[in-house]
Amino acid sequence: LSPLQVVWSMLGNRQFCSYKMTTKTQNFCRNEYNLTGLCNRSSCPLANSQYATVREEKGRCYLYMKAIERAAFPRRLWERVLLSKNYEKALEEIDENLIYWPRFIRHKCKQRFTKITQYLIRIRKLTLKRQRKLVPLRRKIERRENRREEKALIAAQLDNAIEKELLERLKQDTYGDIYNFPIHAFDKALQQQDAESESESDAEREEDDDDDEDVDKREFVEAEDNELSDFEDMDKLETSSEEEQEEEEEVEEKASHSKSKGKTPLKGPARRKRPHIEIEYEEETEPSTKTKAA
């Protein structure tokens, strides 16, 4: 009984082999010189005196061969041959090195070599593309930042800040004459009088006030906010509101409290109580002075 037979019958089959990995359907061999990766009688490097493998190191492929003459010298057991970079030439080299060797080993060596070259090609291609850089998250820092963000959110009081800013802008007249609140216009009138501006503007302002009061009493409703409907209305009303146009006011009668498109959260669907009248006095022109807070 040859010693290798013994090796196989003991280690491979029955007793413990540290390279053997069993799974439900297969037995694998973890030995680095194994040709196929499976645990078989014919592919066990320990139990075969004449054996060969192909392995790659740093992108170059080597052919490793084991001969029975060197079985007593573990250090010199595996002979290494560098294979050429050219695929066909390397195959020929394998063939000429493993001439007279069993067909199985030759075939498997070439197959393994093919696989290795394929994955080396893929590595080279991938490194040329954009690599995704993975930056590890640090848990403590993430937690800290999240907590600080929550606290900053609470401290920010966003709704209040936004409302304040909008009211500021209203006060500073960035919206021009779109919104006409009585007290607001009255304040403006006072300022105008204090500054002793031209009487024309005073007259305009007073007429403005009159219109405002009318507006509040009559409660006009502008149902649609689309620009299309604006144009439609203007076409209808150009003829009817000529008087107003002559005065050249830039009063836009879509009073803010009558808009129904952007509903405030409080006044929900209760908008439609008022009659559905669309009356517009004037064509709107965008006030030319707009300031943008930076």
């Binding site: 995704r132 963000e149 919206y175 959260p265 807070a293």
Partner: protein, 324 residues
């Protein structure tokens, strides 16, 4: 032993708590071994503390009222914003140097109304559903913006194409594990590039009590609390995303609010109920940004010249020091 002047029954439902509980000075609630009794005594002790505190408050209030005008001014509680370490790069509104800088930096053509903003929004490779939807919503919020998918294209090669097609800004939303978590904002004709960490992204459907969809009107922009020089330049970057003339009929406002280095983005529709009251209703997505780095030129991770990088070791040492 040492239970005070009250005797407490074992089941804890002892005699009703008197007005004033007297504890001998060497007594401590934690020394009682019985858990129920200990708990009971602790509750009693707590109640007493609360009463004392309330009494103290009332007394102070009375004293304050009694003094009337002569009362010392109310103490202002310390907040982080109050205690903020003074940053020497805080922008003074009248600073000439800053004004000059701003007149000549990369945003000058925008602020001089020579260019109209045109935004390109894209993502990292293979975006998942959430990111895609977020991009779409962002595109509705920012006027004149287009979403393009990045099918594996390199940013460096997209940028010259964008410049050729007259885009002024590029937004790249980075995604990780199916949620967007980073934002790169790059002003295109060789403008600065800012890289943000994005968090708390809420899509429109996740916002409670939201209104209808944002319309096509140009929104107004609010930029709050950008005080330092760095904050100023970031604020201008955000301002340059939106066209100059907001359409007030739309009554929409986009807010970038900086608080403690976190920039909160919100999109609202407002309505003036009177001259002192305004109601706002949130539409649109919301997210928070934290600046990670600001780079001089367009996006270039290897050879870029960084104006500002967040260095954790140096910059996160003090809780009261902020950079924006």
């Amino acid at each position: 032993a040492g239970e005070g002047s009250e005797s407490v029954a074992g089941d804890g439902a002892g005699p009703p708590a008197p007005e004033r509980v007297l504890f001998p000075p060497t007594f401590s609630v934690s020394e009682i071994k019985n858990k129920q009794r200990r708990h009971f005594m602790f509750l009693r002790w707590k109640q007493q503390q609360r009463k004392e505190k309330l009494a103290l408050k009332k007394k102070r209030k009375k004293e304050r009222e009694a003094l009337g005008d002569k009362a010392p001014p109310k103490a202002v509680p310390k907040t982080i914003e109050n205690q903020r370490v003074y940053d020497e790069t805080t922008v003074d509104p009248n600073d000439e140097e800053v004004a000059f800088d701003e007149a000549t930096d990369e945003f000058a053509p925008y602020f001089n109304r020579q260019t109209v903003p045109k935004i390109l929004i894209t993502t990292s490779d293979r975006p998942r559903g959430r990111t895609v939807r977020f991009c779409e919503q962002l595109a509705t919020v920012i006027p004149n913006s287009h979403v393009f998918y990045r099918r594996g294209l390199a940013l460096k090669r997209i940028i010259p194409q964008c410049i050729a097609r007259d885009f002024t800004d590029l937004i790249v939303i980075n995604e990780d594990r199916k949620i967007p978590n980073g934002l790169v904002l790059s002003h295109l004709p060789d403008g600065p590039t800012a890289h943000f960490r994005m968090s708390s992204v809420r899509l429109r459907k996740e916002i409670k009590r939201k209104g209808k969809e944002p319309t096509e009107h140009v929104p107004e922009v609010i930029l709050n609390n950008f005080t330092t020089r760095l904050g100023h330049s970031i604020g201008r970057m955000f301002a340059a995303l939106f066209p100059h003339d907001p359409q007030f009929i739309g009554r929409q406002v986009a807010t970038f609010h900086n608080q403690r280095d976190y920039i909160f983005f919100r999109f609202h529709r407002y309505i003036f109920k009177s001259e002192k009251k305004v109601g706002i209703q949130e539409l649109g997505p919301r997210f928070t940004l934290k600046l990670r780095s600001l780079q001089k030129g367009t996006f270039d991770s290897k050879f870029g010249e960084y104006e500002w990088i967040h260095k954790r070791r140096e910059m996160d040492t003090s809780r009261r020091k902020f950079h924006l």
